[in-house]
């Protein structure tokens, strides 16, 4: 027990978790927005939008996140000069958020698509019968119901995102948990199991509430048909 306390005293474990939580929240926000845009494109009448969105989802679903993160630094930042800040730490944080958002948006899109499939055809037909155009029927009728139907897959995507935020290490974010764990093990190789348990249990503690909330919401929000 003393060991644990000493480790907590020496290193800012909570700060590292905070970095991961921040990464997760920002990426969740942006990927949700992008995911909604993508799913709208995928169901739109304009075929080039459908093709681009479909290609995007296939590309990012079948690409390792590690490579995306490396491309964010060496491609987007070094070559395309996508710069958020002159301070390295801030800049890499936002590059990591960008990479995570681009990656997760593909999964958000898929989750929403499965949610759209739970909406009965009659809903769309009724919307059309009322004279709503595509944007109206998608935005007012289909998507709100689709969100309710895709709470569970979206929750799973959020959990995956939280875990994936550790891969920000590949985008040079050096203050997050996996980097801190490496550093701690480097200097306290004899306490390796304690160190691992600190971080592992930290993630379990973070993820359980998300799971419970997801379950609660998915049961509460489900459209009973």
């Amino acid at each position: 027990m003393d060991n644990f306390l000493a480790l907590f005293g020496e290193y800012d474990v909570l700060g590292a978790f905070l970095v991961n939580i921040e990464l997760t929240l920002w990426s969740a926000l942006f990927s949700l927005v992008l995911g909604v845009v993508l799913v709208m494109m995928r169901i739109s009448p304009i075929s080039s939008l459908r093709a681009v969105a479909g290609g995007y989802v296939e590309l990012f679903k079948n690409m390792p996140l590690t490579i995306i993160m490396v491309f964010m630094v060496l491609g987007a930042y070094a070559q395309l000069k996508l710069t958020f800040s002159d301070t390295f730490a801030t800049n890499f944080f936002w590059l990591a958020v960008t990479g995570l958002s681009l990656y997760t948006a593909a999964f958000v899109c898929e989750a929403l698509r499965s949610g759209i499939n739970t909406v009965p055809l009659g809903q769309a037909e009724a919307a059309r019968a009322l004279g709503l155009n595509f944007m109206q029927s998608a935005g007012l009728i289909i998507l709100p119901q689709a969100f309710r139907g895709s709470v569970a897959p979206l929750g799973n995507t959020l959990i995956a995102l939280l875990k994936n935020s550790t891969v920000a290490a590949a985008a040079s974010v050096s203050t997050e948990t996996s980097s801190l764990m490496s550093e701690m093990i480097e200097f306290h190789a004899d306490a390796i199991i304690e160190i691992f348990l600190i971080f592992a249990i930290g993630y379990v503690i973070l993820i359980i509430p998300i799971g419970i909330l997801t379950t609660y919401l998915s049961n509460k929000l489900a459209v009973r048909r």
Binding site: T66, I67, T118, V167, M181, I212, R224
Partner: protein, 389 residues
Amino acid sequence: MASTSKKNESSVLFDQPGPKGLRTIRIANIIAAAVFAVVLVLILMRLAAPPDGENQLSWELWKPALEAEAWTDFYLPGLWMTLQASILAVIGAVAFGLVFGIGRLLPNPLLRGVSAVVVEFCRAVPVLLMMIFFWRGFAFLGIGNSSYWAVVLALVLYNGSVVAELVRSGVGNLPSGQREASLALGLTETQSLMQIEVPQAVFAMLPAAVTQLVVVLKDTALGSIIMYTDLLQESRRLGSMYFNILQTLVVAAVIYFVFCWLLSRLAEWLPEKMRQRTAAPTEAEAVAPIAIMDPSNINQIAVAKEVDEKMFTAGAGPRQYHVHHRGSNASIREWRRTRYMQGYDETHPESQVDPQTMEFPELGELFKARPKDGKGSDSGTSGKSAKGE
């Protein structure tokens, strides 16, 4: 109603356009295509003439990334290492998943509890953290090739826990008749599980396991962070010689994409084959997951899956699966209730709990209401618990 042809696959959301609408769509189409093309060209131009550094599109940089030597010395050995770790990890994950998935279904509460804790723990801890831990730990214990074993073990634990859930949901998705029949034949609960239910669940979960293979393949790239010489690491190395790391990474990314994409297609194709071998629904995606600590959310996803996903219709296409399926298997006690609360099984109205009253319907009433030709889709007549389509 549902089966829309492929041509106007998304037309549920908008009326079949008239001549004016068609023109608008065509114009929007051209504008959208032009916008994307312009963005692409801008990016390429930026790569060709960056403010500092070299023209990233020059053949001088691409040639060393594509020539035969690069393949024989770097990409192919790296790819082999990646595949080696993936294959071993998938085999291990299936073994792990079978053991702990069955463990979570056994009658013995102690074994069930232990399996549940192990599975939930492995599912919650980020793979990268496990990899770093095993890597350092193995090196500390003096195990040679520690990064390889760390990659494999971390992937086995995580993906094994996902497979365990697939086994569990596979068994849960079997029609309850399977279990009832085997119990009636005098098998014990465990025998029924091992000899009747799990073998079928394995076939049901195969497509999802292939999808999981994509996850494994993608996650091996994390190994490059712990210095495992996989495809990503080898392509970085190749890039260190000529400083064309961006180019070599693009090649590696294409290889990863091709492999993952082919596996995804395989996973889509497999369900067709597997359906002949099991009474459970087979699905390409790891559906049941994965909101932790809870089995019941499977229903939400199951409902979402009931429609043909390839058709882009909002709403239900023709049902592909055996109708009375989700979570009806008695061995998964909790699922049963939630399933009955949320869904409705038209073919077996007598086994359905009414969602409002939480009671079984009267039997006599049922027989009266049931249509003669058996396979009735008419559930509304059984009264209180209709599932409106």
